[in-house]
């Protein structure tokens, strides 16, 4: 049984389509990240699942129970979902313990609050008021509060957006750990690729109210459904090319491509920068170094292909400090299959 099943979900607002035929399935115990630029409809989708927004058509089922259809609209309080909004939204007039206990019945309350505090690593904070907590601590309590009543589904709306970068990495891990320990099924909305890839079991890419690709993180990265997805989820070198049998010819050479061959000749080629290695100018495609940027743990090297009709300026990451300097000529080689789009 799926923890969540959505079919044909549509919603428009002021004549503008916000959700366009969204369909989604999520197995129990998985964490799905909905990734998309701001304004793509991802928050609306989340709020529709939670019951705060009413879609126009479609169905939503949570753990086999229909919560939204033509015939039936369950109010938010009957859907058994936990909701963690941006900035936590802790009840400012209640203590940490009271916040967590808010959705619990009287009998199980104390025990469960303790468990939840332990789960998010906040033992001993029971009596604190929300304004006495840091942003990260507030998010942990918000998660604990959402998990406490054993919901079928946890919804996280950009849960890290208000936090410092330094705090985020640790909190991500902790929250992922807490969700796993609780065996929770969760959906997280984010516009941050790193967040999605580091946390999610599955990623759904959303654009203009549509889910354009739903797959494992690896699949989304290596075989994005189109060029836009490819550039949205990571750096990519995009080139024009021509299919020639089993190979595609492009300024970076004749390369193997994934999937079956295309009958059409002109295609777009997508290469991830890490597929490209930099060697001496003796072998491979000749390029000139136009700029190097040093980041400490890695460096970015901007290149410009020599002898190419296409203006092509890929940027390649290498570990450590840059092995070349501006003006050097280098030879480029592409490893592995590339992805082509008709």
């Amino acid at each position: 049984m799926m923890a969540l099943r959505i079919t044909d979900l549509c919603k428009s607002f002021d004549g503008q389509t916000v959700l366009n035929n969204v369909a989604l399935e999520l197995p129990k115990g998985k964490l799905l990240a909905i990734l998309g630029p701001s304004g793509c409809g991802k928050t609306t989708l989340l709020r529709s699942i939670a019951g705060f927004e009413m879609p126009s058509t479609g169905t939503i089922e949570i753990a086999g129970v229909s919560v939204f259809s033509d015939k039936k609209q369950l109010p938010a309080e009957k859907r058994r979902v936990g909701y963690v909004p941006q900035e936590g939204a802790l009840f400012p007039h209640l203590t940490v313990a009271q916040n967590i206990a808010f959705g619990l019945s009287r009998q199980t309350r104390n025990q469960r609050v303790k468990e939840m505090l332990a789960l998010v690593g906040m033992e001993g904070f029971e009596k604190r008021m929300p304004h006495e907590l840091s942003g990260g601590q507030q998010q942990r309590i918000a998660l604990a509060r959402a998990l406490a009543p054993h919901p079928e589904l946890i919804l996280l709306d950009e849960p890290f957006s208000a936090l410092d970068t330094g705090l985020r990495a640790q909190l991500r891990e902790d929250i992922k750990y807490a969700l796993e320990q609780a065996g929770a099924t969760a959906i997280m909305v984010t516009h941050d690729q790193e967040e999605a890839f580091s946390m999610a079991d599955r990623i759904a890419i959303m654009r203009d109210g549509k889910l354009v690709q739903t797959a494992d993180p690896d699949a989304v990265y290596t075989t994005p459904s189109d060029v836009h997805v490819a550039t949205f989820v990571g750096d990519a070198v995009i080139l024009k090319g021509q299919v020639n049998g089993n190979l595609v010819e492009c300024p970076l050479g004749s390369l193997c491509y994934q999937g079956s061959s295309h009958s059409r000749e002109a295609v777009t080629v997508m290469i991830r920068p890490e597929q490209v290695t930099i060697g001496s100018a003796q072998s491979g495609v000749i390029a000139k170094v136009t700029k190097t940027i040093y980041f400490g743990h890695d460096s970015l090297i901007h290149l410009e292909l020599e002898h190419s009709e296409q203006h092509c300026t890929p940027a390649i990451r290498v570990l450590g400090k840059p092995p070349v300097k501006k003006g050097d000529l280098v030879g480029l080689q592409v490893n592995g299959d590339v992805v082509i789009y008709g």
């Binding site: 007039h93 209640l94 009271q98």
Partner: protein, 340 residues
């Protein structure tokens, strides 16, 4: 938890308040309690009501307000009026109620206590007190011999900013009605326009008198009792102002009545009759005149300290104003002139 405590405390305070508000709700509707709508001064009504309760054991609830306001209210209330007796400053409002058929006849006993000229021809209301229009003047500002022969003369440039008058008082309206009756519309209008131009209007007689006392104006056109009551409290020697009577039958010395009537919708008519009988009888009249510094309508009652009634020289024909008695023409004229 703090929030909850605050909330519950606030709620309980509010609930207690609401309960208290309800408990003061309807005043106890005692079988025999009499409700009087009174436009007379509080002490006057209270004085006679207290003596009445002492004598008869009938409780009295007094609702105070301005006479016209209360008459208006009785008219609005119609058959549902909770009022038993209405006691007004001027008779115009009683005439209006009588015309609308909202008053019951007073008992013969009450009517017999007073002479015919002080009561309604149909016995629908009885006068309880009489009073004279007067000129209160401040001797520091103006000498008595410089005061004019007639109230009409105050409406002139000579008295610019020196005359206080109260266009919104019932007594003033009543005087206007009488003026229209005796001198006609045009002369009255000219006088009002003159007053508007040269006089200073005040919202009530007491404040107008105070203005004279302080010398802010030289004279005030008021009723005698405002001055007499204050003189009684303070002693005549402490008054900065004096009363002037024209003494020649001028309309500035006109006498008017304050009266009472039984409301037709009353459910306590017997008690109401008793009240009118008491108020017109010697004891009631004595209490009324003492509390009000107005003249009794029952000849047996005595006044104290005021200019004796027999020495007054009021104009004739102002006690009953016929078709002008409801004050409508006077109001229309006041509105026309822009004093209302």
């Amino acid at each position: 938890m703090i929030g909850k405590k605050v909330a519950s405390t606030a709620l309980s305070i509010v609930l207690v308040g609401a309960l208290a508000a309800c408990s003061t709700g309807k005043s106890d509707s005692d079988e025999k309690a009499l409700t009087i709508y009174s436009g007379q001064h509080k002490e006057v009504t209270d004085a006679v009501a207290k003596d009445f309760t002492k004598k008869t054991g009938i409780k009295v609830n007094v609702r105070e307000g301005s006479s016209n306001e209360l008459a208006h209210q009785v008219a609005e209330e119609g058959d549902h009026s909770p009022a038993d007796v209405i006691f007004t400053e001027e008779t115009a409002s009683l005439v209006m109620l009588s015309e609308k058929g909202l008053l019951a006849k007073a008992s013969d006993k009450a009517l017999h206590h007073i002479s015919k000229q002080y009561e309604d021809a149909n016995g629908k209301w009885v006068g309880l007190l009489a009073r004279s229009r007067v000129v209160a003047y401040n001797p520091d500002e103006v000498k008595e011999q410089d005061l004019p022969k007639s109230v009409f003369d105050f409406a002139s440039a000579k008295w610019k900013e020196k005359v206080a008058y109260v266009p919104t008082s019932g007594a003033f309206t009543n005087q206007i009605s009488a003026m229209i009756k005796l001198y006609g519309q045009d002369k009255t209008k000219a006088w009002l326009e003159g007053l508007k131009k040269y006089g200073k209007s005040y919202k009530n007689n007491k404040i107008a008198l105070d203005a004279v006392e302080k010398g802010n104006v030289s004279v005030a056109l008021i009723n005698n009792y405002y001055w007499d009551r204050e003189a009684k409290e303070k002693g005549k020697e402490h008054m900065n102002s004096k009363l002037h009577y024209f003494g020649n039958g001028d309309i500035g010395d006109m006498i008017s009545l304050s009266g009472a009537a039984i409301v037709k919708a009353s459910e306590h008519k017997k008690e109401a009759q008793k009240f009118l009988e008491f108020a017109t009888d010697l004891k009631g009249q004595q209490a009324l005149t003492e509390a009000s510094s107005q003249y009794p309508v029952n000849p047996k009652a005595k006044t104290q300290g005021m200019k004796p009634f027999s020495e007054l020289h009021p104009p004739k024909g102002t006690l009953h104003l016929g078709k002008y008695s409801d004050g409508k023409q006077a109001i229309a004229l006041l509105q026309e002139v822009g004093l209302l």
